[in-house]
Subunit: 417 residues, 4 copies
């Protein structure tokens, strides 16, 4: 099959960058070695709809080495890195992705990829699954199962399963501990601050940083900002999380109070309009506002625009809104994910874990599909633990091992004490 | 009913200490006010088997104010504070508990308490439930339900439920987030270090501290030791927890390596013999070893005794073992829980949350027993969240509130994005 | 010479406690070994006026092993530990110190000790030096020099030197980096929090802790409180220190604002009346107030007393002041140093460094007195660095060493680049 | 006077960037307002040799507003930002600086600037002072004094003063607390990690980071790396600093041990060849090595080159050295300052303080030159404290103020206690 990409001439540049990432994805490398020997995906057709990045390229190669035929489309019209697409196409993978697709082109790419006749689907937002279910049920019979990478996609699929509308089994890769812990906490934590530094050269020490949301992403961002010397304030709706934030040494308050004191605001809630007109009205002059949640809906920029007398691009990723009372508010990256807009997204060490789960879940589907029903499954604990164990090995750390006596004791608790 | 206690003359002293704790248990106080108005436990007989401490006394008073008749026994022959027992007896509660009971006396106390004819049982280790099921089934018919405070008890009860042997519904108070988070993480974290300071006047700054176990207790202890300037090493068997420890900046290694470098060792695993002969053999001269796990089985002191040429009590809670090669190893509190042995256990602010869950769960059982079957239930999420919300209110913090539009958005995710 | 102590029968108990401390003072031990070989203080008479604690006992033994004859008095009528005094007297040291001396007895003890005919004086507050200069100039001719341990004493002596009133050279042991860093930062930091835990069982996590003063003591206390999960607020008068506190992530505000929000207040300023009536008037109900500065003048308790309707001792080291508006304020240890009042003061590891400086400075005076004039000297840098180097060795750490080329480069900077 | 710059057409772009920095330099802004009113530098000729950056541009404008005539040259042939030079020239400042000067051109620029006839010189490395003293003594008579910004320059000037070779007074701006604290600790701390992230997308959490040098820069880098989740190892030659590092919770070891375990190495020592062949020989595969000290001499790359079988540029600022044993070592930015090479250097908030000291010291020289002799002076404490006070005000923080009684007490300490 042919590819639809921007420019095959970019393959060399892509290859060099993929190689740099590869060296920082040791778990995936280890799985690649195993797949090379065992060929567990021999003859398996995989249709993958993922962000076309250097890390994804390494996942695709693992699947290919394992024997799979892969057709890849981008999971967002803007996130495709054309040099990576070229390098993969150059390898022989069918790639249907280029930066700046129209919505129509985006759909066509998925449909082209599906012509491979998928046995397994990989999703980052459930678009392939949705397409198969809604528009191309002719592929349903051939599919053994699918994997989904995001919270959003998993919620969508759980709803489908609840209504008995899901027609093949799906594994929620998103929910693996080794995915959440790295990706959401450590990955988002560091890369969000990195994006802010790149956009603004902001000094964190001595500043009041308001983090809106204290889920795993929020915990990560708050901890790293504190680690750089900021005084961190948490805004949270769930009382147990709010209490945890307080116990972790942060101030906790509602947005209408935090709005008055923050030098920098970062949203990571998954909800809409968490910073809106009533809050922009209270902010200090020169406050900086950005988002690191998945969608660019957390800041209500429409309300800000209506309040502002002018809007100017000060520098890359920094827009200045002048208010009628003379204050200035800076918005970064137009409210899009700051870590992807102004930095490089998660480090490859982080994606190493997420994609190791993907690769092993594909294998799991191929080997166990006849025991699975049309539901959304958690990543099997053995896979989750194995990914953690491989990562520890890769970074040279060793766990303690239980003695037989200790194993026995743990299981004998039910006998009483 | 009469009480069986050490000395009613201690009531005044007990009362003063109970009062000090009361002031630091604002959530329980708030529930007391509500119970005083609503009398939700009017005429309910409660048999409680709990550590007889100042915090427990405050729980008992909340139940009494709510209308209950309470019979209290101690949940451990050594943990009863006789002045607290006296103060409660002085109030009119039936107390069957004194410090230093024999095992026989311990059992008799439970049997005496049961004569109240329980509608609800409260346990810290499942001894009342076990007694009713095994020895006094005549009470089963009267019981509406029970609460259990500990991990150990919950495991025991789950096993009973699995075998269909459980004869009334039980709520696992232990598993509430507002119990685990405070009690295991922040409570154990601080009080363990406090006990060590009291026993040894140990300076944490600059020392290598080995924490064995990275569950909630271990995370708490490790974080606080780091916060006091120690260099912390984690020993853990579960790969995901080990990896999390590494990502949190700690060194991770097996016990046989950690044994060589620690200045201080703290076990919080729930397993037996995690530090044993082979490890004591490797330790540095003057290493200090202690336990903060529930049972005194984590250190294999029998093996240490066999290796040592002498054992001397250096000072309260510090025993010195001389080894034949000239080294000295110090063991604190004979391997018993260091925070209870050498400090005051959890601060009352911590028990405030655990016991607020208890009080509200008793009310829940009374009001909803006819909807419960003979299983082990989690604490209802509304109760857990309400305890967190009350605590936040008590300490003067406010959460953010969702707008109707935000609520709607969160529920509309299934519609796709 | 004979001793004047409480009870020689306490010697054994004192000896055991001294021995425990000895094991945690490895630098002093190392110097003792050298002194035993070299006898650098042979025949030197030393009159020492120091707190009679287990750590001081170890210093005295080092001096004695080095050949000195020592007469010891307590440096405060209340700080003498009678068992330690007994153990030292039992050794043959002349001790004039017992707990609870009157001011008259305190002076007599110093005069008795002086009858030894001092060659070197050791002070913790400059009382021996003052006595020799003011009341017993007959000893001046025999004195080669003195050492002073405290900031207060050093200030006094610098004033004397400035007026040419100082009649022999004095080394300001207080100012050694290896004294300040350990004693003031790490020692006061941990032991202050330890004292507060002992007095109140206060949970630091989630609390607002106001630290008044951001010198080395304040930095230590603030850092440790943050390390235990508190949200720390700094009150400071010096703008550069205030700015440093802000850059370290703390909130900075004046006392009149901090007074409204603190759950716990700790003063470490060296000044008087830093928390006074106008501040007590603003505090929250149940605020806790204590001092860790040298003198009990930092809290203006007289003003608090006048505002309060009652004052009650709630428990050891906790006094409750009821205000006419219904609020309660708790004051710990009557405003005296909380770490000495409710815990054990600095850990022996800390005093190890301070007293190692003392021992080596005595040797320095004996060997170099003819090159010293009647001034206040800093601790020689070689001694300060040597104490650090010995401590590193004792705890098993190694510095990097400069190559000859690197040494040369550092000195060649003056040649330009 | 005319300017010698690259392209006046860049002025607009420069102006926008200068404006962004201006908004983050509130102390300098405040001084500018004062200077505008008071014109303290009316008619003063200033020859400044500084890095031509957006922050420097703001300093120059403050001086100009204060009445000075300024001639500016770059202090390094590579650090000039041509758009900034254009913007300043556009304002009317005489600028002699362009990116990529030859050494000859660099000298000529200084000589051209000197033709202004300086009353005050500003240096970042002492090149103007050296030129005046060595080559152009004809200007000496006119000079009232100078300021020097760097450690290196100050050392050079102190040596000159010691030899009575210094012919006019100089203020060591470098040594102000408000310069060192911000610039070296917080500035270098954050910007070094920022540069590393940009070059490598390195995830700090879970990595072993070796920081060589524990001066203010090293403390800053180590603290921030810990704050991002790294496990930090310190290599230091001075025992007191090494001990402080250990007390701060870091591991301390010599380079030959640290070399074996680091994932990332950062040098900040000011010395040469601190990581050299013998250390590269021990490193793990894929170790990353960089420098954040002033000169690119800290890494001995010559020895690395000799050991390597190949050297390849992997990506911007990352060079890969392949070793004959198969290992790979990555060197960032060829050993040059990583924060300037791969990020933006210090944030403007940091330079705000340094340059506020510069501006006020120039004023001080103009007003007090007749009281100064030909020596190197510290920044007057009033200036240092005033800069801190202005910064606090700018960021909305307030210090506590002493009462008259407190002032009196502090000064009465000499009266005894």
């Amino acid at each position: 099959m042919k590819s639809v990409i921007k420019d095959i001439g970019l393959a060399d540049a892509g290859q060099r960058r993929i190689e740099w990432a590869r060296r920082h994805m040791p778990v995936l490398e280890r799985i690649k070695s195993e797949f090379a020997l065992e060929r567990p995906l021999d003859g398996v057709n995989i249709v993958a709809c993922l962000h076309v990045t250097v890390e994804t390229a390494n996942l695709i190669r693992v699947l290919t080495v394992g024997g799979a035929n892969v057709a890849l489309t981008g999971s967002n019209p803007l996130s495709t890195q054309d040099d990576v697409a070229a390098a993969l196409a150059n390898d022989g993978t069918s790639v249907y992705a280029f930066h700046g697709e129209t919505t129509e082109q985006y759909r066509t790419c998925i449909e082209e990829a599906l012509k491979l006749g998928p046995h397994v689907t990989l999703d980052d937002g459930a678009d392939v699954i949705a397409t198969v279910h809604d528009a191309h049920p002719e592929y349903l019979d051939g599919v053994l199962g699918g994997c989904e990478e995001t919270t959003t996609g998993v919620i969508r699929l759980r709803a489908m399963a609840a209504e008995r509308a899901l027609r093949y089994p799906v594994i929620a890769v998103n929910d693996a501990e080794t995915k959440m812990m790295f990706d959401n906490r450590y990955g988002t934590g560091q890369s969000t601050l990195h994006g802010i530094m790149n956009a603004t050269n902001f000094l964190f020490a001595g500043k009041t940083v308001v983090v809106v949301g204290y889920g795993w992403c929020g915990r990560g961002v708050a901890g790293r900002a504190k680690g750089l010397g900021a005084n961190v304030v948490i805004v949270e709706v769930e009382p147990r999380k709010a209490l945890e934030a307080a116990m972790d040494g942060f101030r906790v308050m509602p947005m209408r109070e935090a709005a008055r004191i923050g030098d920098l605001f970062i949203t990571v809630t998954g909800d809409i309009s968490v910073i809106r007109g009533e809050h922009f009205a209270l902010m200090k002059d020169q406050a900086i506002v950005c988002n690191s949640g998945h969608f660019n809906v957390e800041l209500n920029l429409e309300e800000l625009r209506q309040m502002a007398t002018s809007k100017t691009t000060v520098k890359d990723n920094v827009e200045e809104y002048r208010m009628s009372d003379g204050r200035t508010i800076y918005v970064l990256a137009e409210g899009r994910l700051i870590n992807l807009s102004a930095a490089f997204g998660h480090p490859p060490e982080v994606m190493d874990m997420s994609f190791a789960n993907q690769a092993l879940c594909v294998k799991h589907i191929v080997e166990h599909h006849d025991q699975l029903s049309n539901e959304v499954y958690s990543v099997p604990t053995e896979i989750d633990k194995r990914v953690a164990a491989l990562k520890l090995e890769a970074i040279g750390l060793e766990t303690e091992h239980l003695t037989p006596q200790q194993e026995a004791y743990l299981h004998s608790w039910t006998l009483g004490t």
